[in-house]
Subunit: 332 residues, 2 copies
Amino acid sequence: MTRAVPTSADVARLAGVSRATVSYVLNNTNAVRISEPTRRRVHEAAKELGYVPHAAARSLRAGHSRMVLMPTPAVSVGPLYNRFLSELQWSLSRLDYTVVQYGRVGLTGEEAARAWAELRPVAVLAPGAHDLGPQGVALLKRSGARAVITFGPYQVDGAHALLMDQRSVGRAAGAHLLARGRRRIGVIIPQEPGLEAFSRPRADGVRESAEGTGAQVVEVALPYDEGAAARLAARWRSLGLDGVFAYNDEYAMLLMRALQDEGIAVPDGTGMVGADDLMLGRLLRPRLSTVRVELPSGQELAELVDRMVSDPSAEPPARQLLGAELVERESG
Amino acid sequence: MTRAVPTSADVARLAGVSRATVSYVLNNTNAVRISEPTRRRVHEAAKELGYVPHAAARSLRAGHSRMVLMPTPAVSVGPLYNRFLSELQWSLSRLDYTVVQYGRVGLTGEEAARAWAELRPVAVLAPGAHDLGPQGVALLKRSGARAVITFGPYQVDGAHALLMDQRSVGRAAGAHLLARGRRRIGVIIPQEPGLEAFSRPRADGVRESAEGTGAQVVEVALPYDEGAAARLAARWRSLGLDGVFAYNDEYAMLLMRALQDEGIAVPDGTGMVGADDLMLGRLLRPRLSTVRVELPSGQELAELVDRMVSDPSAEPPARQLLGAELVERESG
DNA sequence: TTGAAAGCGCTACCAC
DNA sequence: GTGGTAGCGCTTTCAA
């Protein structure tokens, strides 16, 4: 029952050839010509045994792999990011890389770098939140990673940074509310763990946009929970806010509903802007004004990875890649 | 600059010991006692070189890995599934498995099985949608996978099935609408690719619940798009439906909004039930009745994997693991 | 056109 | 306590 896993030696034996020949045939090595009958015998033997090459052995011998590693996101970051991810994976597959999401959550810094380095990936793509640090990046590179790419608001020494600064999202929202004459602007700060990496810079962006305008920016904590939203709505008037940036469209919906239940009109009482341009924003009444975020295309990123792998010395300059564009609807 | 990747031999050389000793020290092998000074020297050398063990070499030597492989979901399946996933990953990490999501999308059947088998995972967890087939499962097992677990509505020969039959979701929704006196029930079928695996069985479940009641069940296609929803709403009265199961809460929101804009009252004109019990359902007005889906706990599943890995001969019986409970609110 | 054999990095057995 | 060494499965020279 528990037959041993077939190896190329088993295939060779069954086909009556050497292991070298098996390797030549199965990899279509064109440096070597193998006669047609031999090829067929090898293929048949492989099929009969259900032979599957051993990736680890292969890359051990080759001295490198084509594995691109990224950590599994700890929290669900939303449909936008998911689309980006699957586009990226698709593009990388087309370039013959194996994309692998490493699924131990909560690793950071050098600890994370070590765990990933054990797999000897040829490239690592990591959100800045993992906070690899220069040492983590160095560790990965010393372990053979030819490309270490971080996405996030800041540059990490040694890594190629795709600057995706969430502050631009907050700036766009803030600028819009100010232009509509709002003078005292609330910024929703979700209380869910793992979201600070997004919410802090978004809030900072709102503050930046208000600098020198005399307008005030007030942070308002809000857990993603109906009761909390109702309590916030109950004391809303006492906050004296005339505008609010709701972190994203989901929190915006939560808050809008609570305000409306409390009899506070949007946008007349309080102007509201969400972010991420989800479908649900369009379905709200009033329709939600939002900040549309544009991620870089997965294909572009895949090509960048490929270029860096082929020639790691070529360090292209970091670019700001997070587009943030306000979509005005009815809520503010 | 491009120093070679340090190996245990390098560490041995620097510490002035043999490679065997390095291995003993770094793995804390308790069969062998190593003197304290030696241990220190080895650790220091490893640290100085930035040594990271080579997972592939190790598992090649060991003859097995502790990698649990699952495919990356092709479409975002929703926050519920994400929570389940990260709980599962966390639990498996605690049991010292390395969870890896294999990210080439769109592989199915034996093709997928082969690709995964190359990594020689000790366990594979795959949604039934990948449709491994008995041969795929056999291939994986022959390549050393001690546990092959599928989630999905049906059993695959040779694999351990976690039956997660989406029909129960449809049945719960259908039964509820019928109990409320609805006689002609629409079932929304999303047009997004990749969702059929969920939407078909959910629709089947509604039909099952209507069997023998004389009530009618009508499938209604709906792409996730505002315009399409508006067009559907415009011809809604002509469909003569008095109840609708909206596939899930998001489609329910889309449809509810379109119906309301068309002047069709919910639940008076049409009773509506969603599924997945998302926050947004609670925020709708009328509040959305929904089917709460209960996935198995990630921890339980992790323990099942561990048991199967330790003793693959023990085949526990397949169980129905998808709880579906109706949450009645206001929409139907 | 095919085969023999070295060696990738690691661990575990057996000697000393 | 420590070291020598075989061998996991594979590819790739070099020789025949």
